[in-house]
Symmetry: C2
Subunit: 149 residues, 2 copies
DNA sequence: GTTGATGCAAAGCATTTGCAATATC
DNA sequence: GATATTGCAAATGCTTTGCATCAAC
């Protein structure tokens, strides 16, 4: 277990709890995939994760990577987010800590931000239009410092 | 020419100009597709437009609908927007009049809104992170009045 | 009669699914 | 040993593309 994953014992615990609670099985591919997922920084995309796993010498199918990611999503442990280019990224869910993304169109880098004022304004807008909000998506696209020629 | 399209002469003019400027041809399928596009209200999706066109007794391929929509997009006459469910919608571009969307997860209805304060806050955030913004996307998902059981 | 446009079917892309083989409980 | 899981390939849904045929200039 690496430095990185060591601090994420809660994640493994929550996953174990979810698995037994749903009589799902603890398999070695799930362990491998999850540990690579945790080793990658935030904003993991399925293809990249798959390549990392394969690169580590494990012969696991892409479908299993997707299935595992979906499992984590169902368990409420990760959030899925899809960007304008069609790819989806997964990140460890930090309940109550909502944030939005700033995506660099040059290098693909993703930064996060939170803004309470914006959230408030969104609620106000929904209220005015008589919508009951379930979620929202705010992505800012632009060039990060190092991609501004 | 219907009521609806009559008021959109500028659209046809701009399209004609674009076509000749790029030595592209004025075809009957383009005319048909565009007139159906203009007849549909805002937020047109390719599949729906295709069905309308076919419903009108025209045998035009789906690919041509997509090609025409992309042409309009290249001409700067329509904007494309894609929602969380993967479908894309096209709408007449109203330069300078940026707006965001409120999407009903129940019936698929789409409302629009603009909020200068939010735009301003976005600019502020980008500035703080040293990003040069190129675009953004803000979608609010929820249930509209008639979908609140 | 060039050159661009169309229709169709095939290809892409990211993701999901069916199914027989296999690992976990 | 029952049942969930895997790997693979095939299927998906939306959109694009290749190509021979056809229409616009």
């Amino acid at each position: 277990m690496t430095e990185n994953t060591k601090s994420l014992v809660w994640f493994w615990d929550a996953l174990d709890a979810y698995l037994s609670r749903h009589q799902l099985k603890q398999t070695k591919q799930r362990k491998i995939i999850v540990s690579y997922f945790l080793k990658l920084s935030k904003h993991v995309d399925a293809e990249v994760l798959y390549r990392k796993v394969r690169g580590g010498g494990n012969k696991i199918g892409l479908a299993t990577v997707y299935r595992t990611l979906n499992l984590l999503k169902d368990a409420g442990l990760v959030d899925q987010h899809s960007f304008a280019d069609g790819r989806a990224i997964f990140e460890i869910s930090r309940p109550g800590m909502h944030h939005d993304h700033l995506v660099c169109v040059g290098c693909g880098r993703i930064d996060e931000f939170e803004n309470a004022e914006i959230e408030l304004l969104q609620k106000k807008i929904a209220l005015e239009r008589a919508y009951v909000l379930t979620s929202h998506r705010l992505d800012l696209y632009g060039r990060c410092k190092s991609c501004q020629t």
